[in-house]
């Protein structure tokens, strides 16, 4: 019984914060847009009893999902989001891993300070930090002023409103999400293993490659998923830093919702996005499980 109560807590959490909202969104995805409040039909009328409920279900259909296959905008946007998410995850890893490594190798008394520095940016709103990047990257911005001041370039670089700016914004924003789990994995690393590897003839680099990297694998995976999953549906960064040509599914969803006022199609886009995300989420779960089992 006690065990059952313990297990039920996360399930109730999942039910209330994931399943119920999902069912609502799915229901809207099956309905039709209308000029009304809320802007879709049919609505579930319990007051009419069974007949009302039956009428409600008979009016639902998969029309909106069919629509998504008819216009190439949607799959192109999904693909482009996938690409942006993959590339930015890779860059975040390339930049984040050395940072985490440095933090883990730092003297013990420095570590809390370094960790603090990593978390410190979270004290400022994410939105303000992205706005700050607009100031840095614009043609008259700090970066261009600096580069031109140093005489490295003569014409200002056009970075803001391009995909480059989107990548910079994403990597910057999500870096701590990768650094922290990798750091956690590296911190636990037993130094004697590296010594043993070197005693057995490994160069420092191959010791790093053969010992450190595999042992931090769980941290790398956790960090990558924590970056990849939210970036796939990212909306704020591409709309503030990206140009009009930046195609991401988050922006398409926004357009469906706000410009077309077509909540049903917007919901269908969201449902598909979720289905695409289920794959990495399941992989992430399996990785976590493995890690837990290894921990035992």
């Amino acid at each position: 019984m006690r065990r059952f109560t313990l297990i039920s807590v996360p399930y109730i959490w999942l039910l209330a914060l994931f399943l119920i909202p999902f069912v609502i969104v799915f229901k809207i995805a099956l309905s039709d847009a209308a000029i009304a409040r809320p802007p879709y039909l049919p609505l579930l009328e319990f007051s009419e009893g069974w007949a009302g409920i039956k009428a409600f279900f008979s009016e639902l259909d998969f029309e909106n999902f069919v629509w998504l296959t008819e216009d190439d905008l949607y799959w192109k946007a999904y693909l482009s989001s996938l690409k942006i998410a993959l590339v930015s995850t890779l860059f975040t890893l390339l930049i984040g891993y050395p940072i985490a490594y440095g933090m883990a190798r730092a003297p013990n008394e420095w570590r809390p300070t370094l960790l603090m520095l990593m978390i410190l940016p979270f004290w400022t709103s994410f939105l303000i930090r992205v706005y700050a990047w607009m100031g840095i990257l614009s043609t008259e911005g700090l970066l261009n002023q600096l580069l031109m001041g140093l005489g490295l370039i003569t014409e200002p670089l056009m970075i803001l409103n391009t995909n480059v700016a989107v990548y910079i914004g994403i990597v910057y924003t999500y870096l701590p999400f990768l650094v922290l789990p990798v750091y956690a994995a590296l911190e636990k690393l037993d130094d004697s293993l590296l010594e043993a590897a070197e005693d057995l003839g490994c160069s420092r680099f191959s010791a790093f490659w053969l010992v450190t990297v595999p042992l931090s694998r769980s941290g790398i995976l956790a960090g990558c998923f924590l970056v990849f999953i939210p970036v796939l549906g990212e909306f704020v960064i591409p709309s503030l830093l990206g140009g009009s040509g930046t195609l991401m599914i988050g922006k398409v969803l926004f357009e469906e919702f706000f410009s077309n006022r077509d909540w049903p199609v917007a919901s269908a886009v969201a449902v598909i996005l979720l289905l695409i995300l289920i794959v990495p989420i399941v992989l992430f779960q399996m990785n976590q499980q493995k890690q837990q089992e290894a921990g035992k």
């Binding site: 409040r37 709103s125 303000i128 706005y131 357009e255 006022r261």
Partner: protein
């Protein structure tokens, strides 16, 4: 920018609180009021005023359609208002609660009746045209002295745009305004629902797309004022605000606004009260406050938009009432068009075309 952020943070913090009877919540466009008026309203009525801002009709409409926004007064543009009235979002105004209603300017009220028959649900806040904002010096430098600054050819003719691209051109990110403008350029009906005509308009936009730096509906004010861009298709008052900011900064940037000679879109931002407003009584007090000739004049003097208040005109400063870009002479007033809302199917076509124009997909 920083000021905007501050207001945003402040409003977010406030939005977290609960609505109460001595509060009025107003949701209006950004950079659209003299903030001293807000304090004045609080002092006069003893009500607490919570003033939030948005920069797109779409955002407002979605909040309205979702319901329970908590706002008492909102300010949608005419064509959006019309659809929202249809959706049952607004309550009829209690005109006997509006002592200053007599100040309304019939010239504008007649036009807004097209969206809101008999002005049952709304009162005009400000109105203006959509046109061309130019950095006069730079445009002359690029296109010569006879640059067509008052013609849509400036931004829709690829030959001009190719040259302008280097100094920067911003377009409004508003398909409901840009597509009608392209239709006007082609000599077609800006209100058309015909798919073939809409495609033609999109074709005009696609041809000049490579030369457009950004599609955005508020950034151009600063961009023009700082001299970052040399042309913006924008809203009259916003361009004039840019003109004044540049003048204040004394940065040598000179900005001009011209409604296109082919015909300018005339739009009306209308104050209305949502059906589920928590404090409709306070909302009427706010509307009555804004209908006051002095208050409305103060707002127009500050934001450089014309208003729909006849009585306010004697309190307007000369650089507002005498500026043909703000209060156009009659001939120019007649060279405008009004755009109605699109039906859902046409809206989808227009949005899709707009996405194609912007992202090439």
């Amino acid at each position: 920018m920083f000021k905007n952020l501050m207001t945003w943070t402040a409003t977010l913090a406030l939005a977290a609180g609960m609505a109460s009877a001595d509060e009025v919540r107003v949701y209006n466009w950004s950079d659209y009021i003299d903030e001293e008026l807000l304090a004045k309203f609080e002092a006069e009525t003893g009500l607490k005023l919570i003033y939030d801002v948005f920069d797109s009709n779409e955002l407002l409409e979605t909040k309205m359609l979702a319901g329970g926004s908590g706002y008492d007064v909102v300010v949608p543009t005419g064509s959006f208002l019309q659809r929202q009235i249809q959706a049952g979002v607004f309550q009829p105004l209690q005109k006997d609660a509006l002592a200053n209603y007599g100040n309304v300017w019939n010239v504008i009220a007649d036009r807004t009746a097209r969206f809101d028959p008999e002005n049952t649900y709304s009162i005009n806040y400000m109105w203006g045209t959509t046109g061309l904002g130019t950095n006069t010096g730079k445009v002359k430098e690029v296109l010569g002295d006879d640059a067509p600054v008052d013609s849509l050819a400036l931004v829709f003719d690829p030959a001009n745009m190719e040259k302008l691209a280097d100094c920067g051109v911003h377009f409004l990110d508003a398909p409901d305004e840009m597509i009608p403008a392209a239709l006007t350029y082609l000599g077609l009906d800006p209100n058309t629902h015909d798919k073939a005509d809409l495609e033609k308009a999109a074709g005009v936009l696609e041809a000049i797309r490579p030369y457009v730096l950004k599609f955005h509906s508020s950034e151009y004010i600063n961009a023009l004022a700082n001299g970052d861009i040399c042309v913006a298709v924008g809203w009259s008052g916003d361009v004039l605000q840019a003109r004044d900011r540049a003048a204040e900064a004394e940065n040598g940037v000179e900005i001009a606004y011209n409604p296109p000679k082919e015909g300018a879109l005339m739009w009306f931002d209308q104050m209305a009260i949502p059906t589920d407003a928590p404090n409709p009584e306070g909302a009427h007090k706010f509307l009555n406050f804004m209908l006051d000739a002095n208050n409305m004049a103060a707002a127009s003097n500050y934001v450089y938009y014309a208003n729909g208040n006849k009585a306010s005109q004697e309190f307007l400063e000369a650089d507002v009432i005498d500026d043909p870009a703000i209060y156009p002479p009659e001939a120019a007033m007649n060279n405008t068009y009004i755009k109605g809302p699109y039906p859902a199917k046409v809206q989808r076509v227009v949005t899709r075309l707009w996405t194609r124009v912007k992202s090439g997909v």
